[in-house]
Amino acid sequence: MGSSSAGDEEYTKEYRGKTVDPKHGKQDSGIRGLLRRASVSLKNHAQPRRASHSHSTSFYDTSNTRPSTSSSAWHKLKNAASFRNSKNELLSYGYRDQGTLESFDDIDVPIPGNGNAPPIIPRRVGGEAARATAAAQNELLERTRQLHLDDIYWESCIDCESAVELSLSHVNLGQEDEEIMVHHDNSIIRVDFIANLPTELALHILSTLDHCALAQASEVSRTWYKVANTSSIWKEAFYREKSSTYAMGRPVTPGSGLGLPPMVPDKQWKEVYRARQQLDRNWTEGDAKAIYLNGHTDSIYCIQFDE
């Protein structure tokens, strides 16, 4: 029991990772404030109306220290899902400031981007480079539009949604380029990756969550609910969280009679998880039913049992 509750604590701690001076938050105005408000964490996204004093850092690393977009979870995801062919590095920071991308007729070989300058790609070169360019440009436009929409949305909400304002004021931003990063991430985070990714990948992502996070994730939308309630996800969570031991010297082997049933696919694993959770709770609360077996006619000195 001890170990399990300790795990829960850690879990909550993760969510309370960031607490920031509230005074600092109040000074926010103009574009900075806007950006702050726009950087909605996933958790707040899932439960937008709760005046939460916490800021999620565990789902997706939206922390300020991210070195570049190419290392972001989303970016890796895109690569893994092979949406585009490996030219995502084009989307560096400076690149955005360049406006529309120009193509050059008078060169034959593409010139890679240098610093803030975009790569120069010849018009006549077909294939990958061109497709990447087009894709990048499309994405840029998409993002700009999305951001614009966001701005409108947030401006319209500022007065009425004080709860949201409150929770977002806790995001601490020091430097200009960090703001840009947050700005940048925001548009990425607004992509519903669970709905857009192939099912296997969506399942894989959610299968790394624990039961609390899974419960929250299933409140996001119908699609999320559907994915988060897949039996295999709960199976993963069950074995990951319930096979730890105190002094066995190894994890519990499924099917060895120690509370972990064998890994059969046709079980309702969410129900199994729920039953186990309830059992653990009963242990904490000491909620046991007594059954007395009668038959021996004298003191009973020794006992052993197996389930």
């Binding site: 066995m248 059992l279 009973i300 020794c302 049992f305």
Partner: protein
């Protein structure tokens, strides 16, 4: 041969393999096997004169069945009346069964007659051999794939070869009766009435460490599964948790108000279950030493043994009862946690409800009978009284 088979009644003459079982050993000289889910007693193994006695099955006073389960859920009721098979072999203990352990192949029991018997668990508990060397009661035993280790009131520990039953070593060193013994790998831990816990190397037979600190005789000592921790307790009412590698006492828990008779470390959850002569069963956290749960007076006398798994604590006592504390009884789908499929909860409940109704009916019938008898007696008395009174009135 024919003598011991006459008590052996098994349906279809088929082999009995019990799953989900509880095995208990008692001062009444019998070993009983119970079903952990149906609460029925399945089999009684004992000396012929005990097993053949009619009072094993029914109570001679009122004819009711001896084996039943009393459940308080939510109001107390009685269910699972059962008639166990009974069996007796020429090789048996005609004395108290003090300790036992079983695995998938063998059951070993130790008795106050100073011997141990090894039974084949998959062959109708047929005895394989007897281990005789101790000169006094065998108080505890433990075995693994290679060795059987026993300890005795004669202050020694014996190490036996599991496969052949030869006695390999006798370990001398304790100056009091050795009350408990356990083994992990090549280590044996033992505790004794001489206030000490000793660690032994099974290969060399040498005493490698002595854990001192207890101030009275010890009753029980336990290894954790990974052999990192040792818990010990006894007459000084204190549970001590030791680091098996260094011999340091990690924790001292002032646990009970009387002798601590049994300890069980649940290595999966880190819970420590203790049973005491103060009739309490307590659950401690191994890590912090704090008291997690307390079940005072759930037994009406000394607690003699208590073990637990992920779902239950099962304890036995001087009050002749086995107590199952089931933390999962009311949970829908808890049987899904079992490693082998069993009866679903809904079916179990309906079966139990039926048994309960039958029990109530039975009780009503009996009460009705009693009432009839009472009325008859009353009538007779009244009749004689009337008869006695009549002449006086006439006069």
């Amino acid at each position: 041969m024919s003598e011991f088979f006459q008590f052996f009644i098994v349906a279809n003459n088929s082999l009995i393999i019990h799953r989900h079982k509880i095995i208990t050993g008692s001062r009444d000289r019998t070993i009983r096997i119970w079903d952990i889910h149906t609460y029925a007693c399945l089999l009684v193994i004992g000396p012929p004169h005990v097993v053949s006695a009619p009072c094993l099955i029914t109570n001679p006073e009122d004819g009711s069945l001896m084996h039943y389960a009393a459940i308080s859920d939510p109001s107390p009721y009685i269910s699972a009346h059962s008639i166990p098979d009974s069996i007796s072999y020429p090789l048996h203990h005609d004395a108290s069964i003090l300790c036992l352990q079983y695995d998938a192949e063998i059951l070993v029991t130790g008795s106050s007659d100073g011997t141990c018997i090894v039974y084949s668990i998959n062959n109708n508990y047929q005895p394989i051999r007897q281990l005789a060397h101790h000169t006094a009661a065998v108080l505890d035993l433990a075995f693994d794939d290679k060795y059987i280790v026993t300890c005795s009131k004669d202050c020694t520990i014996c190490v036996w070869d599991r496969a052949t039953g030869y006695m390999l070593k006798q370990l001398h060193g304790h100056s009091g009766p050795v009350n408990a013994v356990q083994m992990r790998g090549n280590m044996i831990v033992s505790c004794s009435g001489d206030f000490t816990v000793k660690l032994w190397n099974i290969d060399s037979g040498k005493n490698i460490r002595e854990l001192e600190g207890h101030t009275k005789g010890l009753a029980c000592s336990q290894f954790s599964e990974d052999s990192r921790y040792i818990a010990s307790a006894g007459n000084d009412r204190v549970i001590r948790i030791w680091d098996a590698n260094t011999g340091d006492c990690l924790r001292t828990i002032d646990a009970h108000e009387n002798l601590v008779r049994s300890l069980h470390i649940d290595s999966v959850s880190g819970r420590l279950i203790s049973g005491s002569y103060d009739q309490d069963i307590k659950v401690f956290d191994m890590e912090s030493g704090s008291l997690l749960l307390d079940f005072p007076k759930w037994h009406s006398s000394w607690v003699l043994g208590a073990k637990s798994d992920y779902r239950r604590i099962i304890s036995t006592g001087q009050d002749k009862k086995i107590l199952i504390m089931d933390f999962g009884r009311d949970i829908e789908g808890v049987e899904e946690l079992e490693s082998e499929p069993i009866e679903p909860r809904a079916r179990r409940l309906s079966r139990e409800r039926k048994a309960r109704e039958e029990g109530l009916k039975e009780r009503a019938r009996r009460e009705d009978e009693e009432r009839q008898v009472y009325l008859r007696i009353l009538e007779r008395e009244m009749g004689s009284k009337l008869a006695a009174e009549t002449p006086s009135r006439a006069a």
